[in-house]
Every structure is written in C-alpha cells, then in structure tokens.
C-alpha cells in the first residue's frame, strides 16, 4: 500500500518536472525568437520544409475529406429535404473544424516527426553540445526558425485545405449527386461568417505552435542512442496529436 502511494508520488513529481521543463523550453524559445530571431534564410528553409513540402499530402487529404463530407452531408440532408444546404455544411465543417485539425495532424506526421528525429540525432551525436561549446545558441539555429515557420505555415496550409475540401465537396455534391451549383455556393456564402474563418485560422496558428514546440522539445531532450531518438519521435507524434485534439476542444468552447 505504502509503495503504491510512493510510486504515485514519484510519477506525479516526474510529470510535474517534465511539464516545468517543457514550459521553460517554450518560454525560452519565445524569448530567443524575439531577441535573436536568426537568419531569414533559415526561416524560409523551414517554411519550405514544413509548408511547401506538405502541400501534396494536404491536397490529397483535403480533397477526400471534402468529397466524403459531400457524400455524408448529402445523404443526411436529403432526409430533411434540404440538400441545398450542402454547401454551407461542407464549408462550415471544414473551416471551423476539419481544416485546422486535419492539416495539423498531417503536418505532425510528416514534418513534426522529421523535426524530432533531426534534432534528436543532433543531440545524441553531440552536435548540440558542439554548438553550445562554440558559444552559439542552439535555440537560435535549431528551434526558433522551426517554431516561427510552423506558426506561419499552418494557417496557410489550413486555408489551402479548406479551399480544396470545399471543391471536393462540390465535385461529389454537385457533379455526382446533382445538387444545384448555385445553391451550393449561395448557401455557403450565407452560412459562413467572418468569425468562422477567423476562429479556424486562430486554431491552426496555435496548432502550429503546439506541434513545433512539442516536436522540438522531444528531440532536444532525446534519450540515448538510436532507440532514444525513435522513442522521442514516437512520443512527439503521439503527444502533439493528442494535444492538438484536446486544445481544439477547449479553444472551440472559448471561440464559440
């Protein structure tokens, strides 16, 4: 009984310590972003890596998400005889929810894992120590360009996701199932408000911060050897995805 309590205590303490370390990591990253943001070229390189190179996977996910929304939405709405609302259903689900969340999850899988692996390998091969030994701030070269790039690119990727998804829904709803094309876009225009778009962009911006923060952190404190990096990468992807979904709930309830 006593040892159970002891274990719970130990676990809680290590959890608290980890959370503290993560918070310090984030605050220090933000401090470095403002005090010495690094070279513009490094940021562009990260934008290219996180953003441009994710385009294809975002395009693919978005079109099929839009298409399936068109399909599901059509059959549901038809029960109430209001297929005309399809446009606004598809657009609202994408803009408010699926666009930001799915694009964040795709970026986590594609770029987040790569970020953790890259930084983790630099950690275990002493390259981060080498930077520190040369009195060069590792956060400036490794962390802050990635965080900045993620914050910039995720809203853009999310917007692309929304547009592509809306057209995916259009193809299925209008071209295949015969919804009136005028109604599709007309209802969309009436249904979507500025607040919806705004909340979607705020979401994806914060997801960008969450993903890059967690993935950089996990890589920076990767354990020993190849196994340490693989464990860090796995836990970075899992933790980022879960945090994105949890944060999404809370943010939605606030932005409602």
């Amino acid at each position: 009984m006593f040892s159970l309590a002891e274990n719970i205590g130990k676990l809680t303490l290590s959890l608290l310590r980890e959370m503290g370390r993560m918070m310090t990591f984030l605050l220090y990253s933000i401090y470095v972003i403002f005090s010495s943001p690094g070279k513009l070229f490094a940021i562009f390189k990260q934008i290219h890596f996180i953003g441009a190179k994710s385009f294809f996977v975002i395009f693919l996910t978005a079109s099929f998400t839009g298409m399936v929304l068109g399909l599901q939405g059509y059959y549901t709405l038809r029960k109430f005889g209001s297929e005309g609302l399809l446009g606004s259903v598809v657009a609202l689900s994408l803009i408010r929810e699926l666009g930001p969340v799915l694009s964040a999850l795709m970026v986590t899988g594609r770029a987040g894992s790569a970020i953790t692996a890259e930084i983790g390998i630099m950690r275990i091969t002493e390259q981060i120590d080498a930077l520190e030994a040369m009195a060069l701030e590792p956060f400036k070269y490794l962390i802050s360009p990635k965080i900045l790039a993620a914050i910039i690119t995720l809203p853009l990727l999310c917007s692309i996701f929304d547009v592509v998804g809306i057209y995916g829904g259009y193809v299925v709803g209008v071209k295949l199932l015969g919804v009136n094309p005028g109604a599709y876009f007309n209802e969309m225009e009436k249904g979507v408000e500025w607040k919806d778009i705004y909340s979607g962009l705020v979401k994806s911006l914060s997801f960008g911060l969450i993903i890059s923060w967690i993935c950089c952190y996990k890589g920076f404190y990767a354990g020993h050897g190849a196994e340490g990096v693989s464990r860090a990468t796995t836990s970075a992807v899992v933790m980022s995805s879960v945090t994105v979904l949890v944060w999404d709930y809370f943010l939605t309830s606030v932005l409602m």
């Binding site: 091969t125 120590d129 080498a130 030994a133 040369m134 009195a135």
Partner: protein, 254 residues
Amino acid sequence: MGKGINLIKLVDVSKAFGPQVVLDHLDMEVPERAITAIIGPSGEGKSVLLKHMIGLLTPDSGRVLVDGENITVMGRGELNRVREKFGMLFQNAALFDSMTVFENVAFPLQEKTNLSRGEIRDRVHDALENVGLRGIDEKYPDELSGGMKKRVALARALLLDPKIILFDEPTTGLDPIISRAINRLIRDVHDRFDFTGVIVTHEVPEIFDLCDNVAMLYKGKILMAGPPEDFRSTDDPLVKQFILGELEGPLRLI
C-alpha cells in the same frame, strides 16, 4: 611562460546521474598555457569532468572557476561570454552532418565575425591545411574516416583562436600511426598558438610524451596529479597498475 596561474579550477565538485555518483567532491586545477591530461579507467567520468569545465554539465554541488569566474551560477548569456574562450574537440568529432567540411569549419566564422566571403574562405583553407587536409571541402562528414573527422573538428576548434581547448579522447578508435600524428599535431599547434589544453584519454603512457601535467581520475576524485615524470616513477600501486595496464593489482575493473 607564466605557467603558474591556474586557468580552470574545480572546487569540491560533485555530480551524480541518478544513483550513480560520477564526481565525488573533486578538486582539480588546470595550469595556464600547459597541456593537462586527464587519465583514468573507462567509464570513470572523464568526459563528464571535461564537460563541467565548459558548462555543458552543471555540478550538483561545488564550483567551477574559469579565469577566476564561477561558471556554475551563470545564466546562458554570461556563460556564452566565457565559452568564447574555449574550443572543444568532441569524442565523435561532432561535426554538423548536414553540412560539408567547408561549411562546418566556416560556420563559427560566419556566425561570429564580419569577415567577407573571401576572407572566410582563406581562413578556412588555412585552418584545414594546418591539420594537413586539402581538397575535401565539398565532402560530407559521413564520407570521411574517423581520423579525418577529428582533424576537421580540430580545425574548427582552432579557428577562433581559443585560449583553452578541451580534447575529449582525440585519438580513441584510431590506428596507432594516425593517433601519433594527431598527438603531434596537438603539440605543434600548442607550441604555435600557446593555448591551455585539457586532454581526456586512456592512452597511457603515450600521452606522457605530449602533456605537461597529468591528473588521474578514479572513483570520482583526482587520485594523483603532477608532471608525467612523477607518474612514471610513482610507487602508488593503483596508478602504477593502470599505467602498466596490468590485470593483477588493487584496480579491479572486471
């Protein structure tokens, strides 16, 4: 030469990783402009000791003084100012593996100085030539042999004229000829640039020809420190056994 001053001083330093005590109330001094070798059995924490000198690790207790300043209480900014005095050669060379050899050596210059491209190119080539390397500018670290990597890392460490250079096992894992070449290189470079050197190694007695002072780390403390001659003529059974590499004796490693 003013070898009397101690540039680095560790006072009552302790460090543990979990239950394993690595440094146990250790005291050590590194005299200026001399080469000090830290010897001792593998896994005794020699690299840990070295990393304390440059603030890559912070002690659980005790002080580390560099040029009279206690670096254990410094923030990152202040610590970076002290680190400007250092160059460090890591055990695995720690070259940036996504950069070419040229970019690796040029990196600290690009980041810290306002030199033009041409000047940087000249200085990088000088530095590489100093360590006997030519024509490998465009190669990536994984295309180099272990000895070449260490020489590139040495060139990178030397480039900013550091006052202190820390060598973490500069010759481990290299063949005897390359090892000797690197040792001689360190000596030559030292004679030319007059830095304070600290070398972690377990290559005894070869290292005695290279260094001015030796300190032996054992069970978290400095067991013995002094010039190489003292080590050669010592009566301490532990030290003697380690230097001669004998299996029988008070030192039990397996």
